[in-house]
């Protein structure tokens, strides 16, 4: 099973290798500069557990688990 963004723990940093989302879903992320090769850091989960705040290209962005599950990262869990 691929290592996806939703399984990244707070404080961990990985590189995006594939975005497996429908074009509309992917657009809102690529618009912010998230693409293959982008390094992404998991900052913190919100108190209710979802969404999670990530940092890439110097910006903090909140992403829901459902979208994060479509973003595959380098390496293994």
């Amino acid at each position: 099973m691929a290592f996806t963004l939703d399984r990244l723990r707070a404080g961990e940093r990985r590189t995006v290798v594939c975005i497996a989302l429908s074009p509309e879903r992917a657009a809102s992320l690529t618009r912010l500069g998230l693409g293959v090769g982008t390094e992404i850091l998991c900052l913190r989960r919100t108190p209710l557990g979802d969404p999670t705040v990530y940092r890439f290209r110097g910006t903090d962005v909140a992403i829901r688990r459902r979208d994060a599950a479509g973003i595959q990262l380098a390496g293994k869990r």
């Binding site: 690529t30 919100t46 108190p47 962005v61 979208d67």
Partner: protein, 605 residues
């Protein structure tokens, strides 16, 4: 001859601020992603040359597929402006340089505006403009909102760049500007290295210095503090609005009645009927609407804008997202509901921040289920009625009653939204991606002006245009008689049987109908219909009618201003009608239920 200049940049880098400073336009700017959607245009003159500028929507890349990106890419492809200015955020070079590198590759005359320099310096950054200019092969002009001259320098740099544009070669003026730009800003020599990486370049320009911001989100999004802080802040805003508005409202009302005396003297030449029509009908209603609506809005909207400018609102939307996601919506709807407490019309307009069309429509239709501050005075009076008015214990109980009202309203809003999203507005769960801008120090003067002009006065303007004719109609109804009995009493009697099913009286239901122009009018109208103008409103209620009136106050048709706004936002008769029928249906059903329950308990005793 004129020079065409296009402005591009990421969202939320202060592009609109730079554009406005150069062209003197007044576009709405705010600490919120995606304020500019359609390209705005403006112009300025420098050394007898006219510059025509276009502000492109904020984009991250030319290659993405969003509407903003298509608008920007199409514009650049079809218009080929003489000069292309890219606005960068000096505090977030890594993110914003990507676009600059893309634009560098497609346009020969690029001018780089390094904005938010003041903030960058405060954060301990000292971006190396010369290095950036060398890497991008373009003049780099640092700008800052607190120094006007920096914009003048940007104008000069654009003029200089235009001189090398094929279309502008041979134009007049501009030669004198060369000496005013430092060599660093004129751009270095040598080719742009292929495959320059934005992250590496950003690090080089900043000499490897990384921003260390105070991590406020540790607190604001923390496990324990987040929700208490959110609820406390919202409560403080609502409390200050309801409490703080009493005095200015009273003062305004006193002022208006003094003005009425003056007007009365002025109109003394008119026949008595006509004078009364203007004074007691049109003037009195309009004055009352202004007196009760203006102070709360003038307090609420600046406070809300303050939270917006600080950067707190995206955090609130993030915290609220989970429960809203469960109902097929998103946290941004929570913000629209908060705005709805200030005024439902503003809440409906605020739904523009929801990108998904169906989610936005659901948020618009359910916004009136949140009580606006025009309904608070009624709820407070009813709280006193239901729970008794004396003693300190009852003050706490009244606060509890109001809280219960708000909780009920939120629950019903969420439930109705879920219902809509599973039926008529069914659709796939939209993605939720929310940028969290850094906390920023708000600029109070601009903030006050903006929230007063943009929101308060516009809503007030709309309200007055409805209140004046409504005042005339109410005055006429009050004077008309039907076979000896006043028309209003007759209507109230006619409504009595139906109203009784809802636990209301005909008088109250008629007052609800007539307060369509503004919810604030409910109690004065009820007193007028009952023929006890200026009397004690508590005499209108029993315990049963008080409870049912509270429920119906929370849930009934939106006021006329809000309906008008729904029409403006949806441009659809069907959805506008739905926005009236939906809360009404909720109110009727709940009132029937509450009334049945009360009857059941009363019979069983």
């Amino acid at each position: 001859m004129s020079v065409s200049v296009a402005f591009a940049g990421n969202p939320n880098v202060g592009k609109s601020t730079v554009f406005n400073a150069l062209t003197g336009l007044r576009q709405h700017t705010g600490n919120w992603t995606g304020k500019t959607v359609d390209p705005a245009s403006g112009r300025w003159t420098l050394d007898e040359t006219e510059y025509e500028a276009v502000d492109l929507p904020g984009i991250y890349s030319l290659r993405g597929g969003t509407p903003e990106e298509r608008v920007a890419a199409d514009y650049l492809a079809s218009h080929s402006p003489d000069v292309l200015t890219v606005v960068l955020d000096a505090t977030a070079l890594e993110r914003t340089l990507g676009l600059a590198l893309e634009l560098r590759a497609i346009h020969p005359n690029l001018v780089v505006c390094l904005n938010l320099m003041d903030e960058a310096e405060r954060l301990g950054l000292a971006p190396d403009c010369a290095a950036l200019a060398e890497a991008l092969q373009a003049p780099v002009v640092p700008t800052r909102a607190d120094r006007k001259q920096s914009y003048e320098l940007l104008r000069r740099a654009i003029a200089l760049s235009a001189l090398t544009s094929p279309a502008c070669r041979g134009g007049q003026g501009g030669v004198a500007v060369v000496s005013e730009l430092s060599p660093a800003c004129r751009g270095g020599q040598g080719g742009v290295g292929g495959g320059v990486d934005a992250a590496a370049l950003a690090s080089r320009v900043n000499h490897g210095v990384q921003i260390t911001r105070r991590d406020w989100d540790k607190v604001f999004l923390g496990k324990y503090a987040a929700w208490p802080i959110l609820l406390a802040l919202l409560f403080a805003v609502f409390y200050l609005t309801v409490r703080g508005a009493n005095l200015p409202s009273a003062l305004l009302e006193a002022g208006f009645s003094r003005l009425e005396l003056a007007l009365s003297a002025l109109l003394s030449g008119l026949p008595e009927g006509l004078r009364s029509f203007f004074l007691d009908g049109v003037y009195a209603t309009t004055a009352r609407v202004i007196a009760v609506m203006l102070p709360p809005m003038a307090i609420f909207f600046p406070l809300f804008s303050l939270l917006e400018d600080l950067g707190f609102l995206p955090r609130a939307a993030l915290l609220l997202d989970r429960p809203f996601a469960a109902c097929g919506s998103c946290g941004r709807q929570g913000l629209c509901m908060c705005m709805g407490v200030g005024c439902n019309a503003v809440g409906v307009t605020g739904c523009r921040i929801i990108p998904n069309e169906k989610e936005r429509l659901a948020a618009i239709l359910t916004n009136a289920l949140v009580p606006c501050n025009g309904r608070f005075p009624t709820l407070i009076l009813l709280a006193g009625l239901v729970l008794g008015q004396n003693g300190s214990l009852s003050t706490a109980a009244q606060a509890g009653f109001l809280t219960a009202c708000m909780v009920l309203s939120c629950a019903v809003t969420l439930g109705t939204t879920a219902l809509l999203r599973r039926t008529v507005l069914r659709g796939e769960e939209a993605s939720f991606v929310l940028e969290l801008p850094p906390f920023r120090k708000p600029r109070l003067g601009r903030l006050l002006l903006r929230s007063l002009l943009d929101r308060t006065l516009r809503v007030l303007g709309r309200a007055v245009t409805v209140a004046a004719p409504a005042g005339a109609v109410i005055w006429l109804l009050d004077r008309l008689t039907l076979g000896g009995t006043p028309l209003l009493s007759a209507l109230a009697c006619g409504l009595d049987p139906f109203a009784a099913n809802l636990g209301l009286t005909g008088t109250l239901l008629l007052a609800f109908l007539l307060s369509f122009p503004a919810n604030e009018l409910l109690l004065p109208l009820a007193l007028m219909i009952a023929g006890m103008e200026g009397g004690d409103p508590t005499a209108l209620f029993t315990l049963r009618t008080a409870l049912c009136t509270a429920v119906f106050t929370l849930f009934h048709w939106p006021c006329s201003t809000t309906v008008l706004t729904v029409w403006h936002e949806t441009r659809s008769r069907k959805w506008t009608l739905a926005s009236v029928l939906l809360p009404t249906a909720v109110g009727v059903i709940l009132c029937l239920a509450v009334n049945c329950l009360i009857m059941f308990f009363m019979c069983s005793y």
